[in-house]
Subunit: 245 residues, 2 copies
């Protein structure tokens, strides 16, 4: 059987997220599986690198599936982009060794989070950013980012309950770029817990607006109490940029 | 009476264009007038710098209206952005001399037109660009732009029938910038006829893909026959960037 890897871009606005829920048509996974079914005649379940929340976007989500189809990679690419809705685009179709697994083999991911920081809102980026009209202290937010770098138990910055699995992750990069009124926060790490990027963002923004002090970072890393971190920032500002293998 | 100038950004996707049609709620002008009515209690007609087509966007449309309201400019700005739908944003509210007229006083305009030129479509920019998968010859398109510069009778590149009014316009700048797969065409001139930018774009793209020869530019400027120019490029790639006074 062939093992096919897909690199996928999607605008998450209209969807309930990546993961198929029963027969729901309103998930990215569900839409892609239904096109594969049409394309190959096979009833196939695809494996994503991980879930994305309802409203979250992706520039480079990765998934794989096994098939007996004899279509070429280019024919598959054309078929996907002909039959998928316009807000889901397959960017690349690759042939992988049989053992490749889009979730188990993940070595790391890059996410971006966008914040529109201006007294005046944005007509164009409103579903692709979080609108924060309050003044933000960039210097303090950069300090917050620096404290989060490295290897920590991030369970206090996640939506997880106690678990036997390790909740230790390493953040390799966390940077802020400003372009006009738009702030882009880039996260690179070996893995991110459920809602971790959005809770980190809520915390960094609360520090930037003065609602929380910088010390909250070390405190939550230490005491692991979710309630002491910031709110969960909305899904619409979040982009899964890349999955590293 | 006060004379108020608005600078307006909008995502045109959901609208039938700028100009109010009877009582239709589905126009930008209609939406803004209804908020002004709510804000001042006055039934006011606003004057736009010009119309934009259904689906066309604006970063800097300008309009003015006269009012007896005593609200401050900041209060108006806040009121607009609180009650307008999220895809229409008032960026600026200015106080003007009584004689200022948003249409009569226009000295020039800048438009941008975006083309997504890649074998793979775009999930994010599909309503803000025209998707052209064919290979385009940038060099030829630059030559086409150069031939269009200056003062000409552009009626053959417009949707106008014969008219007594002058159809001579001057294009001061027409440039192409490339960023990845996105091409941005920027038009600056003293005025543009009905659908002129979209017909010029259709013509430039037909030259770029080899469907028309470069000579079509001089021919249509000379013989003024609309049918010999390219097709009208779709409205969704067009942005009104700035109005100059």
């Amino acid at each position: 059987m062939r093992n096919i890897k897909l690199t996928i871009e999607y605008d998450g606005k209209r969807y309930l997220g990546w993961q198929r829920l029963g027969d729901s048509e309103k998930t990215i996974q569900g839409k892609i599986e239904s096109v594969i079914n049409q394309m190959t005649g096979e009833k196939i379940e695809i494996i994503g690198s991980g879930r994305t929340d309802a409203g979250t976007h992706a520039r480079g989500q990765v998934a794989n599936f096994k098939t007996n189809s004899e279509m070429s990679r280019n024919e598959m690419l054309a078929f996907f982009n002909r039959y998928l809705p316009g807000d889901i685009v397959v960017k690349k179709v690759e042939e992988m060794p049989e053992r490749f697994h889009a979730r188990y083999n993940v070595k790391g991911k890059q996410y971006s989070y966008y914040v529109w920081n201006d007294p005046i809102p944005t007509a164009f980026e409103r579903y692709r950013s979080f609108y924060v009209p309050d003044k933000l202290d960039l210097d303090k937010m950069n300090q917050a980012c620096e404290r989060l770098l490295g290897k920590h138990d991030f369970i206090g910055f996640s939506a997880l309950k106690k678990t036997k699995k390790s909740t230790t992750r390493t953040i390799e990069k966390l940077s802020i770029e400003q372009e006009g009124s738009m702030l882009r926060f880039t996260f690179v790490g070996d893995g991110f817990l459920h809602k971790m990027v959005r809770i980190l963002m809520g915390t960094i923004l609360a520090i930037g607006s003065g609602k929380l002090s910088l010390d909250v970072i070390d405190e939550v890393l230490e005491n692991k109490v979710r309630a002491e971190a910031g709110e969960t920032a909305p899904a619409q500002g979040l982009f899964l940029d890349e999955v590293h293998y």
